[in-house]
C-alpha cells in the first residue's frame, strides 16, 4: 500500500475500507510532538503510573525497570508529567 500522502482517489478501497486492519501502529503520531518527556532517574520510584496513564501506550519499561517514551508514538501531551507522583518527569522543547 502507498503511503497515505501519496494515495490518489483511485487507490482507495471500496467504502474507504482499510484492508490491513489495525494498521494504526504504522502511523507516526510522534510527528505531532512539540515537547518531549524526560525522566529523572534519581526521583523515579519505578511505580509505572506514567505507563498506566499514557493514552497512547507510548511509554515502555526499560530493562532496568525505569520508563521511557517511545518517540514514534509520543505526542508530548504531558499527562505522564502531571500524573507522576514524585515529579520525576518533565517536558523539554523539541529542538528540531
Amino acid at each position: 500500500m502507498k503511503p497515505v500522502d501519496q494515495m490518489t482517489w483511485k487507490d482507495l478501497a471500496v467504502g474507504c475500507v482499510v484492508e490491513n486492519a489495525g494498521n494504526a501502529d504504522t502511523y507516526k503520531s510522534g510527528d505531532w510532538r512539540s515537547m518531549r518527556p524526560i525522566w529523572d532517574k534519581d526521583r523515579c520510584i519505578k511505580c509505572g503510573v506514567c505507563y498506566i496513564f499514557c493514552p497512547d501506550m507510548a511509554i515502555k519499561e526499560t530493562e532496568d525497570g525505569y520508563f521511557e517514551a517511545d518517540l514514534f508514538y509520543c505526542k508530548g501531551c504531558g499527562i505522564c508529567v502531571r500524573e507522576c507522583v514524585t515529579g520525576a518527569i518533565r517536558l523539554v522543547e523539541e529542538e528540531e
Binding site: 494515495m7 483511485k10 478501497a13 471500496v14 467504502g15 474507504c16 482499510v18 486492519a21 494498521n23
Partner: protein
C-alpha cells in the same frame, strides 16, 4: 399476466421488502411511514419473513443499526419521514462514503415548524447532498417496483451505495391502488443473494469508517462523487432488465406528450399523475404542452434531461420545497444550473406548490400555465412564486 390486487401502497411497499427477502430491518415508526414498519414487524413475527427486526429508540439509532447490519453483510432496510430523517441525518451522510447498500423508503412529509404531518419534499431536500441514490415514485406500482430494483442497484458491485425511494406521504402511502405483484421465484432470479465486497468478519478483519486526515479527505470525496455518478448507467441497465421482466420500464427522466411540445411542466413524485391529467386538459384546448418528470434526482441525469428539453421554449417547474431567501425551489435552481451551458435554452418559470399536503389539482396546473404565460409576457420570470398563497 400476474393479477393486480387492490391494496394500500404502504402494504405494497412492505410486500416488496418481504419479496426482497431482507435480512435486517431497523426502523422507528413515524407518520406517514408507520404502516410499512407495522406490516414488516408482523411479517417477521408471523414467520413470513426471516429477518432480524430491530426495534430502536430513535431514527438516529435506526440508521446506526442499519449501518452495522449492512457492514455485517446483511440486506438491510429502513424507512422514515420528515423529523425522523432529520434526526437520523447525521448517520445518513455516513453510509455513502462507507458504501453500505442500505435501502430506505422515505415517506415524504414536510418538516416542522409549524408541525405538520402532510406531504411535501422539504425532508428529502434537506439531505439532497447526502450522497444516496435518490429516486421518486409517481404511484403505488412505481414504489413497489422501484423498491425491489433499489436492492439490485444498491448491491451491484459497480455501485455499492445506499438507495432512497421517495414516496409522497398520504398521497401515496395511505391510498389504495391496484398493484401488480411479482412472485417469489421471479424476484429471486432478479435479485440474487447479496454478496458484499467487504464485511465485518472476525476471521478476515478490516477497518471500516476510519478517520481521514486532510491529506486524504479530498480524495475520499472525489471517489464518492465519481461512484455516485458512475451508478447512472447501472441504474438504467437494471431498470431496463426489470422492464424486460415485468413490462414496466423506468427511466431517469420520464416524459408525457413532450415530443415537440413548446412548454413542459417539470415535476417529481406523485405530482406527475395530476400534471399529466392537466396536460391532457390543456392539449384539448389546443395548448402545446407536455410533462417532464424527474424520476432520478441523484445522480442527476443531465444527458437525459437535456435531450428531453431540446427545442422547448418554457419549463414550468413545480417545486415542493423552498430554499428560504435563496434562488427558489430546489428543483428549479438545479434546472437553471443544468441549463446554463445550453444555447438556446428554455426559460424557467418556478412555482412552489403543494406544501404540507395542500392539494394541487389539474385546474391548478392550468392556472399555473396561464400565470406562467402572463409572467413571460410581463418579462418577469426571475425568482419564484409561492403558488396559491392567500394574500
Amino acid at each position: 399476466m400476474p393479477k393486480r390486487e387492490g391494496m394500500e401502497v404502504s402494504i405494497a411497499a412492505s410486500e416488496a421488502i418481504r419479496l426482497a427477502n431482507v435480512d435486517a430491518i431497523a426502523a422507528y415508526p413515524i407518520t406517514p411511514q408507520t404502516h410499512i414498519v407495522e406490516h414488516l414487524s408482523e411479517f417477521v413475527a408471523n414467520g413470513e419473513l426471516d429477518a432480524e427486526f430491530i426495534p430502536v429508540e430513535s431514527e438516529h439509532s435506526a440508521m446506526s443499526v442499519c449501518m452495522g447490519t449492512s457492514a455485517a453483510g446483511a440486506r438491510t432496510f429502513t424507512c422514515t419521514s420528515s423529523q425522523g430523517l432529520a434526526l437520523m441525518s447525521e448517520i445518513v451522510f455516513i453510509a455513502p462514503p462507507m458504501q453500505l447498500p442500505i435501502v430506505m423508503i422515505l415517506a415524504n412529509r414536510s418538516l416542522s415548524g409549524p408541525l405538520s404531518i402532510w406531504n411535501d419534499h422539504t425532508d428529502v431536500m434537506m439531505v439532497r447532498d447526502c450522497g444516496w441514490i435518490q429516486a421518486f415514485g409517481e404511484n403505488g406500482q412505481e414504489i413497489f417496483d422501484l423498491t425491489l430494483a433499489a436492492f439490485r442497484i444498491a448491491e451491484d458491485r459497480r455501485v455499492l451505495l445506499p438507495f432512497m425511494v421517495n414516496m409522497d406521504g398520504f398521497i401515496l402511502s395511505h391510498v389504495i391502488e391496484p398493484i401488480e405483484m411479482m412472485d417469489q421465484e421471479t424476484v429471486d432470479k432478479f435479485l440474487p443473494v447479496y454478496k458484499p465486497k467487504y464485511r465485518m468478519d472476525p476471521d478476515n478483519p478490516v477497518t471500516m469508517g476510519a478517520f481521514a486526515m486532510p491529506d486524504l479527505y479530498t480524495e475520499t470525496k472525489k471517489a464518492q462523487d465519481e461512484k455516485l455518478k458512475a451508478s447512472l448507467p447501472v441504474i438504467e441497465e437494471v431498470w431496463k432488465e426489470f422492464g424486460d421482466l415485468t413490462g414496466r420500464y423506468y427511466h431517469p427522466i420520464e416524459t408525457y406528450k413532450a415530443e415537440g411540445a413548446k412548454t413542459l411542466f417539470v415535476t417529481m413524485g406523485s405530482f406527475g399523475e395530476t400534471a399529466s391529467t392537466a396536460v391532457d386538459m390543456l392539449r384539448e384546448k389546443g395548448e402545446d404542452v407536455g410533462l417532464c418528470q424527474i424520476r432520478l434526482w441523484r445522480p442527476f441525469p443531465y444527458e437525459a434531461f437535456w435531450k428531453a428539453v431540446e427545442g422547448v421554449d418554457t419549463l414550468i417547474i413545480v417545486d415542493r420545497a423552498t430554499s428560504y431567501g435563496g434562488p427558489g425551489g430546489p428543483v428549479a435552481s438545479e434546472i437553471r444550473s443544468a441549463l446554463y451551458t445550453l444555447d438556446p435554452k428554455p426559460r424557467v418559470v418556478d412555482f412552489i406548490a403543494g406544501l404540507a399536503g395542500r392539494d394541487v389539482a389539474p385546474v391548478n396546473y392550468e392556472d399555473m400555465y396561464t400565470r406562467a404565460k402572463a409572467r413571460i409576457a410581463s418579462g418577469d420570470i426571475a425568482g419564484y412564486e409561492i403558488y396559491g398563497v392567500k394574500e
